[in-house]
Amino acid sequence: MKRHTNMTRRRLLAGAAATTTFLAAPTIVRAQGGALKVGVLLPRSGVQASIGQDCQRGADLSVSLLKSLGYPDITLMNADTETNVDVARTRAEKLIADGAQLLVGAFDSGQSTAIAQVAEQKGIPFVINIAAAPPITEQGYKFVFRNFPTAPMILGDAFANQKELFEAAGAAPKTVVFMHVNDTFGMAMKGGIGAVMPKFNMPYQIVEQISYDPAARDLSVELAKAKATGAEALMVVSRLNDAILLTREMVKQRWSPMAVLSMGPGWYEDQYLKTLGKLADGPLSFVPWFDPNKKLSKQLEAALAKAHPDINLNTNHVYTFEALLVAADAFKRAKSTDPKALADAIRATDITDNVSPGPGIKFDAKGQNDKLKDSAIQNRGGKLVTVAPKVAANAKVEWPMKPYDKR
């Protein structure tokens, strides 16, 4: 069983075990030595297919990259959660039955929670790549680790980075309208704003909050409402499709705010850039990202460019990769595939040579990496540049955003 990284767009899965243990083995025999078997659970079909498959790219890159960095061999056992908690849980059990010694996944908070319980019961470490719902690491799990900021962390960094940018630009909006999608992440962010924003003494005030349905097929009314507030800038937490819809509506309804301040996915994604072309330029995203100045970032970027020349490195790749980095690092230090030893090793993680901004990867008692820093990135000519924080920046912010009708 060898994981081979297939460079075609449609990867064939080869890593999963060919044999199924249908009957209980009283003690699951786990080979000492050999490659670490990592079960990767991602929603590669169903509603979240797009993100799940994007995350998978990050996972696929990791194996050879980590090896080249001197980490011991890891083998991926991939499973599709079908964007469904039942399946997520079943697949997690299956991967463990087939010998997975560590789990990574699963982008979504609901599915991650379902997997977390299996991991906890089995004593198999579970490293969450992406999932921002704060409760996951408040549950008292011992085998669940998250190398991804929670909503309040993202917000705090967003406000800090915004202030830095306003200072650099010498200008700031006095009013913003806040639009957010009414889903888990959107609500978590909305909830955080009230608590976090006052601490930062922001130069603007939020004139209106507009919440919209994640299943929305049309956002013309929402945007008309936002435009009617007369706010100088648009603050937004959205998803990819909404981001595209909102941009189109801004162009059509002839509204060019001073800035688009996004605190969620969508505005920086490849699909957004590709679909909107030059209209995609300008929005600022305050999100978990990578530090383009770090060495490993450049390596990861190069690896991705080799595998997928048309794809920009993004959060999905970075955090899925880092989850595997955590796994490989723990394996290296534990020198064992025993889950207990792995979990102990993860608890002691202290990785400084990483991709995401900030000091590095370290978990607190709850299994949360609370040292994570987020970046401010801006879309420029189909590429993404980091404009804040200064330590992780590779460009200066363009301010204000170029009006849509002048492009």
């Binding site: 039955a97 379902a114 978590a188």
Partner: protein, 342 residues
């Protein structure tokens, strides 16, 4: 009651049921955790399938929005547990009442205003969607942020608070599934069961026999809704998190309907057989595709869809009626029975 449970079941059926139950009882000792998870899923679908079957299979009222009741049951017990530390067993009656009342509401509106057939089916979907969006804005259960149940450590099973290992959930579900089977069997042989079947077959003829069809249709909806919500309790405490998008989605409702339709609508055993077949099928297809190394995301579902297509085209009454005849376990033997006269 005894006669309701024992009547009309042949010895062969008793033996078959007994063996199956015995196997299920000792299954957790034999199978690994992965299979146990599958079995839990099967029992979950078998239970909900039976609850749905009361409404559609017995009384002939097609509901395509049964996720509504699962969701209500889940949210009610979970919210009571999270906010007041109320045991799910104490929350259960509340959940059942909430769901039953909701079912009564929908039933009352539909049956009073003579919304029937396809229209009724779509009304049930509409209410489920209504609930989804409503719960997205329902702050007490955290709206779309999701409701998380606190997770204690798992070293011991706490049956009173439904905190524990999968095997505990397995036996809880097995109990409910068997209880539902017994209830359905008794119901089918009760006054309500006869009246429901009459309504299902021919509502006008049923009315001409003095049956208050409105009342009995209401009974079916209320009972089915209440029973379904019990599955919600399990769902909440097994997965420990609830999101309106997830529990009230149309695909959830569709999942609940697959097993009874594939197994055999209106039969006692069909829904259970359907749950076994479909959940098993999903796993088998997954294994199969994996073994061939052909696993583009979505392939499993395509094959699953093709299998569904074949079953529904070839076996209009579902799998169980022909299967039961083949096994000599038919629920309705055509030959005159030999039971003594009452």
């Amino acid at each position: 009651m005894r006669s309701l449970l024992l009547d009309g079941v042949s010895r062969r059926v008793w033996i078959a049921l007994g063996v199956t139950l015995a196997v299920l009882l000792i299954a957790p000792l034999i199978v690994n955790d992965y299979l146990l998870t599958i079995l839990i899923l099967i029992l979950y679908f078998a239970y909900t399938a039976q609850a749905w079957n009361i409404m559609m299979g017995f009384a002939g009222q097609l509901s395509l929005g049964h996720a509504l009741y699962v969701g209500l049951g889940a949210y009610t017990t979970a919210a009571l547990y999270v906010h007041f530390g109320l045991s799910p067993w104490l929350g259960l009656p509340v959940a059942v009442i909430v769901s039953a009342l909701t079912g009564a509401c929908i039933g009352f509106l539909a049956f009073r205003f003579r919304v029937a057939g396809v229209y009724f089916a779509i009304l049930t979907i509409a209410f489920a969607e209504f609930a989804r969006i409503g719960f997205d804005h329902f702050g007490w259960v955290n709206g779309s942020s999701g409701l998380f149940l606190p997770v204690a450590n798992y070293t011991q099973s706490d049956l009173w608070n439904l905190r524990g290992k999968p095997v505990m959930f397995y036996y809880v579900l097995l109990f409910f599934t068997v209880a539902a089977l017994a209830l359905c069997h008794a119901l089918l042989r009760s006054r309500a069961g006869y009246f429901w079947q009459a309504i299902r077959e021919d509502e006008e003829a049923a009315r001409s026999l003095g049956i208050d069809t409105f009342r009995y249709k209401m009974y079916a909806v209320v009972l089915s809704a209440g029973m379904t919500s019990v599955a919600g309790v399990f769902f909440a405490f097994y997965y420990n998190n609830l999101f309106p998008e997830q529990v009230f989605s149309i695909s959830r409702s569709v999942e609940l309907i697959l097993a009874p339709v594939i197994g055999g609508v209106g039969t006692l055993i069909g829904p259970i057989v359907g749950a076994f077949l479909l959940t098993g099928l999903a796993e088998v297809i997954w294994e199969f595709l994996n073994a061939f190394g052909f696993d583009p995301p979505g392939a499993k579902q395509v094959f699953y869809g093709i299998c569904l297509l074949f079953v529904v085209v070839l076996l209009p009454d579902g799998v169980w009626p022909p299967l039961s005849r083949a096994l000599g376990l038919a629920e309705r033997p055509d030959a005159p029975d030999d039971k003594p006269e009452a």
